[in-house]
């Protein structure tokens, strides 16, 4: 084959126009950061899209929870004991006694993945099926500008609405219930918002990955929805199933029982929903001093003999640091996979 190459001479290459020489094409120097342009266009698309309205409605519902359910209970609690720790944060963690989902933190934990997926599942394959991808990539941008810009836009839009909702709830709490947050509570709230950002980012990355791998937007939406269902709703089911494998035999020794219990907890922690739930509850509940239920008699005794007290944020963060790291790692893995696959993909269908 190589014998057929007629002239193997090297073609001369002009030096790339550097911005500081007169050779420079001044238009080259004026090129903006591609991902910003992509992101601002995507944000424009998002805020006029149907999914944005859905986002508003869904997170609006979250804001309505304290309005209807939390307020009364908080009043009752606050009256019963004036010394209740972090009443302000209770706005986010208290709901009607018998419906677990109607708490702001739980609710957000369930819908955040859906929102992340909704804003990313068609990011790349949508461009592909519309035939806009070759045109977009033939513009003077790097290829990763596309995926970075889309990620930034999704996170930006969801984040904006999330922050608005948190401010709305806080405002409601202050005006209607007269609960004024202490500085520690504000910091905790900010930390919680960041943790939620992180969780949304994970699902956005996962959505991006799906949109790169799966050619049809509808299929990638279905797969994403399926995974969300599996992780969020049937998460408990999976852990039960898997931990069944580790279930101690009837004649097991104490050590074996303990070991199997720890294995179950470990399996649960593989799920991002569990990770987020643990982070969220520790941040929003300053008097929570341990995440897992005590596994040994010693731990149990320790927990019971503990004097109830409030943790400072750094102590709480210390408690959930492994979970935070795990969540970051999962996000990096998902985004990294989407990034690499997209960079290596052929542009032609």
């Amino acid at each position: 084959m190589s014998a057929s190459v007629p002239t193997a001479g090297t073609l001369p290459e002009a030096t790339a126009p550097a911005p500081d020489t007169e050779v420079a094409d001044d238009r080259m120097a004026r090129l903006p950061a591609g991902w910003r342009v992509v992101a601002s266009k995507e944000i424009g698309d998002h805020v006029t899209s149907v999914r944005f309205i859905v986002l508003l409605i869904v997170l609006g519902l979250a804001a309505a929870i304290p309005l209807y359910f939390a307020a009364d209970r908080i009043r009752a609690v606050a009256q019963a004991a004036t010394g209740v720790p972090a009443v302000f944060l209770a706005l986010f963690t208290i709901g009607p006694a018998n419906i677990a989902i109607l708490r702001v933190d739980t609710f957000v934990g369930i819908v955040a993945p859906l929102l992340g997926l909704a804003f990313a599942f068609d990011a790349v394959n949508g461009e592909r099926s519309e035939g806009t991808l070759p045109r977009l990539l033939s513009q003077p941008i790097y290829r990763d500008d596309v995926i970075n810009g889309k990620f930034a836009a999704g996170l930006g839009v969801i984040g904006l609405v999330l922050v608005s909702v948190v401010l709305l709830i806080s405002g409601f709490g202050m005006l209607r219930l007269g609960i004024v947050p202490a500085s520690q509570e504000i910091i905790r709230l900010v930390a919680w918002v960041f943790a939620t950002f992180l969780y949304v980012a994970l699902w956005l990355s996962f959505g991006l990955l799906l949109s790169v791998v799966i050619r049809r937007a509808a299929t990638s939406a279905l797969v994403g929805f399926g995974v969300w269902l599996l992780v969020t709703i049937f998460g408990q089911l999976i852990t039960t199933l898997v931990s069944g494998l580790f279930a101690p035999a009837a004649n097991a020794t104490a050590d074996q029982v303990l070991g199997s219990y720890q294995a179950q907890q470990w399996v649960t922690r593989l799920l991002p929903s569990t990770l987020y739930h643990e982070i969220s509850s520790v941040i929003l509940t300053p008097n929570l001093t341990q995440i897992s239920t005590p596994a040994t008699i010693g731990q149990l005794e320790q927990a019971q003999s503990q004097i109830p007290g409030l943790l400072t944020l750094d102590q709480s963060m210390l408690l959930v640091w492994p979970q935070v790291v795990a969540l970051v790692a999962l996000t990096v893995v998902c985004f990294g996979a989407a990034y690499i696959l997209f960079m290596r993909q052929e542009i032609r269908a």
Partner: protein, 353 residues
């Protein structure tokens, strides 16, 4: 610095696109095989080939959107694989089956492209207005693209490629799925662009007649290889059957005159056949062999017409159609088969002819 001076001295001679032994392989399939290509400023170069001949792959390599397996490419003097951004800044590209964001207006789509190219505010709007005017979409600029016809989208695609004021325009199948009138409009537009802006255009097509009508030079592409390159006339002499065609218009009333004219024309040197005009036509068709005698035969016709009192109405050499050239080119290179069922055959290591 040195190189820049050379470019300044004679910018029109320097090819803006140049490839050496450019090759792209996908597993066993060789999509582009040792391609040598040169496109100069101010010319329209037609890349002609069937679907799957490797035209789009070539274009993607020129834009740095896919990496060549081996060989080199220089676009505006730069290696697209190493400086894709600079190359893409200066090359306008109309992809095959171009798509737009349907929910946005034509102008918004162009504005996005302009911004990606660093054009903002007034500069961008001026550039957008200009290209919209050029492609004749000014009236529909504020409508959503999803309401556009296929031809309008194609024209918007050209506007989109032009909005960055490129030095080179690369158009992949610019005339597919467009009605005949639209095709003529687009081809006229391309010619105008070359004349007005002096840019170079590389266009790919499988529609021979269109390529023939607008391109200065043509490269015939089959199974990833360039089987012939040059002007239509040059290709004709390369791949024609060695004969030329002249149409002669004669104003003859009676059958006797026709008889006489036929005798005269057939008696000329190098004239192989004489075909009588069809009803209601006065065009006689002569085939001349060898083709190189074509000019002499025309002179002879003129002289004979004077001598024999035949009233000439026209005298026209017919450039052979690209369709014929294309077919012969493929057959001559024994590629007619491989062009259809290529892959195994082309991968088996055929050496250059």
């Amino acid at each position: 610095m040195e190189r820049k001076k050379i470019v300044e001295r004679d910018p029109r001679r320097e090819p803006v696109i140049r490839t050496r032994a450019l090759t792209k392989r996908y597993d066993t399939l060789t999509a582009v095989d040792a391609l040598d290509l040169e496109v100069r400023p101010g010319e329209i170069f037609g890349l002609l080939g069937q679907n799957g001949a490797g035209k789009t792959t070539t274009i993607l390599m020129l834009l740095g959107l896919t990496e060549p397996t081996s060989g080199q490419a220089r676009v505006v003097g730069l290696d697209p694989a190493r400086h894709p951004r600079e190359v893409k800044r200066r090359v306008g590209y109309l992809p095959d089956a171009v798509g737009f964001y349907g929910g946005m207006t034509g102008r918004q789509n162009l504005r996005y492209t302009a911004r990606l190219n660093g054009l903002k505010g007034k500069d961008a709007e001026t550039a957008i207005d200009e290209v919209l005017h050029q492609v004749g979409l000014t009236d529909r600029a504020e409508d959503r693209v999803e309401t556009y016809s296929r031809g309008m989208k194609q024209r918007l695609g050209i506007a989109d490629a032009l909005v960055k004021s490129p030095d080179i325009l690369i158009l992949d199948e610019p005339t597919t799925a467009i009605d005949p009138i639209g095709v003529v409009e687009i081809l006229d537009l391309l010619r105008t662009l070359v004349n007005e802006r002096g840019l170079a255009i590389l266009l790919s097509s499988h529609l021979l007649t269109q390529v023939q009508s607008v391109c200065d030079r043509i490269g015939i592409f089959a199974a990833g290889r360039m089987v012939g390159e040059g002007t239509v006339t040059r290709l004709a002499s390369l791949f024609g059957d060695g004969s030329a065609i002249i149409d002669v218009g004669l104003d003859l009333k009676d059958p006797v005159g026709k008889q006489r004219a036929e005798g005269v024309l057939a008696g000329l040197a190098s004239v192989e056949t004489v075909t009588r005009p069809e009803a209601r036509s006065d065009l006689w068709r002569l085939t001349v062999k060898p083709a190189s005698e074509e000019a002499n035969v025309r002179q002879a016709i003129l002289a004979a017409a004077l001598e024999h009192q035949l009233h000439l109405t026209s005298l026209r050499p017919i450039v052979p159609s690209l369709d014929d050239i294309y077919r012969t080119a493929l057959e001559r290179r024994g590629m007619a088969d491989t062009a259809v069922g290529r892959g195994a055959a082309s991968a088996s290591g055929r050496s250059a002819a």
